[in-house]
Symmetry: C2
Subunit: 204 residues, 2 copies
């Protein structure tokens, strides 16, 4: 939404954000890390500190042709990206199976459902059936705010869309029903703290 | 071990196996599936029947050069295999995090520890700390027998080797401490049944 003030100056959403959020932005934002890099860095911290074992799955690639040069490593000369049948991240935390997907949006008011794929929804539903803990980490990059949202909400929105429901999840809904993930130094994104909070809510 | 009878006829280990094992061999062996294919096929069955969600992780590949031909899929033109930092399989089963590796050996009396890698051992130890269920599936291909072995045994053997212990796990030890996995039609390898048996033993 491009809104100008009467004096012609541009409206800056950031200046209307809560002070704490602004302070966080000042300290940590614009270091050029993608959400994926932030999660990988947090996972390394969780791993080395013995808090959890969570890894990003490698991108599935169909290898067609490989060269084996003498005295050096095999070189893949022809290969194609394949579609994954799962989410990107899974692992184990205090006996719990965790499974999640991470998405960023530049949108300021909602995350379009087009960021997700049917196979991810199907996979998350299957994991829930097996009592796995599934969620999505969503970054609103303009505000540099990250939320953990229980995937049951995503599944509801997804299925409503099939019945002509709205095609995005509003930020306001995520603020109400998700858990904001705190930015820090190490781990950069303490999303396991948000997982703990999500589990407390579920138990209540 | 090549042993001939006094009459010069070759010794066939298979003819000295228990009858049940022979019958299984007769019905199911030599269909040319690798252990990996058998596990993948079993995982598909578990997935479609809603029994568990377990996937093989893709091989990690470092992509260096990609071509984007017009009107067709991206072609990877240069890439290299990277070493994984985990085991090959993980997933969720009745609320449990499962994590395992699969290995085949042509050896008739033991599986050499050289089949395993340090990063796999480290990963399994970390998963155990998080209360994950970790094990190895070992196929003795000559006999077409598959065993599930709790990875705590593998870790013990691994650490003894560092203190000049033996460099392989004897089949006799695996027969005593592992659980033989039954071959069937669908799932081809019902290793979750062996997981159930392993958990029963642990509880006792």
């Amino acid at each position: 939404m491009a809104v100008n003030y009467p004096n012609g100056k541009k409206f800056h959403a950031e200046s209307h954000m809560p002070k704490t959020a602004k302070r966080k932005d000042f300290v940590y934002s614009n270091r050029g890390m993608t959400l994926e890099e932030e999660i990988n860095s947090s996972n390394e911290h969780y791993l080395s500190s013995g808090k959890a074992v969570i890894h990003k799955k490698p991108t599935p690639i169909q290898v067609v042709k490989v060269d084996y040069p003498k005295r050096s490593a095999a070189v893949i000369k022809e290969a194609y990206y394949r579609q994954s049948s799962t989410t990107d991240y899974n692992g184990v935390y205090k006996g719990l199976y965790l499974d999640f997907e991470a998405k960023e949006t530049k949108n300021k008011t909602a995350i379009p459902l087009s960021n997700f794929h049917e196979h991810q929804i199907i996979h998350m539903k299957r994991c829930i059936q097996q009592q796995g803990i599934t969620f999505v980490l969503i970054r609103f990059s303009v505000f540099n705010r990250v939320f953990l949202l229980n995937s049951s909400y995503l599944i509801d929105f997804w299925e409503n869309t099939l019945n002509n429901g709205r095609k995005s999840i509003p930020l306001a809904f995520i603020e109400d029903n998700g858990i904001e993930v705190a930015y820090g130094f190490n781990p950069r994104l303490d999303y396991l703290d948000a997982v703990d909070k999500m589990l407390e809510r579920t138990i209540k």
